[in-house]
């Protein structure tokens, strides 16, 4: 470690990051977390449907990993919400 000039991260902080990430998945697979995602879905739907009409049955909400940056694996909340129709942002929102 570090002998040839390349400083590597402490293995304990690598362990910590790896654990944090793997636990997001482990926890997401348990029933209590499925419940959490369902609740989140309901809340997101409520907010979005004030602006656009959405296909409620088609909403897909999930926690996924991405590996695109040089920084290693990160986790993200991915939502796929099909739009039925964009509402006219009319008077009712801006007049308040």
């Amino acid at each position: 470690m570090g002998l040839f000039g390349k400083r590597s991260r402490k293995s304990s902080s690598v362990a910590k990051d790896r654990l944090k990430l793997v636990l997001i998945y482990d926890r997401a697979g348990t029933s209590s977390n499925n419940e959490m995602i369902e609740m989140m879905k309901r809340d997101i739907m409520r907010v979005i449907s004030q602006y656009i009409e959405i296909e409620e049955e088609e909403i897909d909400l999930d926690i996924k990993t991405s590996n695109n940056t040089g920084e290693g694996v990160t986790s993200e909340l991915v939502a796929n919400i099909p739009i039925r129709k964009v509402k006219k942002l009319g008077k009712n929102r801006y007049q308040k």
Binding site: K10, S11, S12, S13, A15, K16, R18, L19, K20, V22, L23, D26, R27, T30, S31, S32
Partner: protein
């Protein structure tokens, strides 16, 4: 903590049985009546760790099946007043007992003893379900290593799904020298990841080998660092507030290192 405590971990080999034995002896030495219930049916070990393996006549499955009365299966540890062992069966498997039967058994024991400590098998299957069936509190044992911490998280989730909310973490076999070097998860890191309260930290201690060879839990050994950590945890179970770092650092590796380098 409550009077019925399950000692669990998910992963095997992290020190559940050693912890159960040490805390049991610790509580007995503090004047409490304690029964240690080994639920690891088929792979019993609490008896050898306590040095009681030659005294087993009946076991937990015999009690559940009505082959003997509960009192006949309880082994009194003659060295420590108030300490009893209810051994697991060795030649049966985990399915020999149901969670309902295990719970009923714990309720019986609870009437007779101040504390019931339940030694849980590794895994999350039937044996785990049996072990937690009657428990009101849990001590989750982990070592500062990714696979063990991950399993501990799973166990904590399962405990809360079973409505056991009084869950405390015991970090076992920590090496303060490695933590300092950055090659071992620190106490704070582990706590942050798992999000539970700490009941204690037990340093890696070669004397644990000696104590399990002899069948004499380290908690009775004044020279053992792990033993003194277990004595502190015993006091915390009894409701005393003992600071974690202070007590365990001084006698532990950190203390020695600090002295060595003149920091303090």
């Amino acid at each position: 903590m409550n009077n019925v405590i399950v000692v669990t971990s998910g992963k095997g080999g992290v020190g559940k049985t050693t912890t159960t034995a040490n805390l049991g002896v610790g509580l007995a030495r503090a004047g409490k009546s304690v029964v240690l219930m080994d639920t690891d049916i088929g792979l019993r070990n609490l008896d050898v760790v306590l040095g009681l393996e030659n005294r087993i006549v009946y076991d937990l499955v015999d009690v559940v099946e009505g082959t003997c009365r509960l009192k006949q299966a309880l082994i009194k540890d003659k060295r420590y007043d108030g300490l009893y062992l209810l051994p697991a069966a060795q030649t049966r498997n985990k399915m020999a007992v149901s969670p309902e039967q295990a719970k009923a058994l714990v309720e019986e024991l609870e009437k007779e003893f101040d504390y019931v400590l339940i030694d849980c098998p590794a895994g999350i299957e039937q044996g785990f379900q049996n072990a937690i069936a009657g428990a009101k509190s849990a001590i989750v044992v982990t070592v500062p290593e990714v696979s063990s911490v991950r399993d501990a998280d799973r166990i904590i989730g399962l405990l809360s799904a079973s409505e056991i909310t009084d869950v405390k973490l015991l970090i076992n076999r920590i090496r303060p020298d490695l933590v300092k070097k950055g090659d071992m998860l620190a106490i704070e890191d582990t706590l942050e990841i798992l999000g539970v309260d700490l009941i204690g930290v037990v340093p890696e201690d070669e004397m644990i080998f000696r104590s399990s060879n002899l069948g004499e839990p380290a908690v009775t050994d004044d020279k053992s660092r792990a033993g003194s950590a277990y004595r502190n945890i015993t006091q915390r179970i009894l409701g005393k507030e003992i600071p974690i770092m202070d007590m365990e650092e001084k006698s532990g590796f950190f203390g020695k290192m600090k002295k060595l380098f003149g920091k303090n």
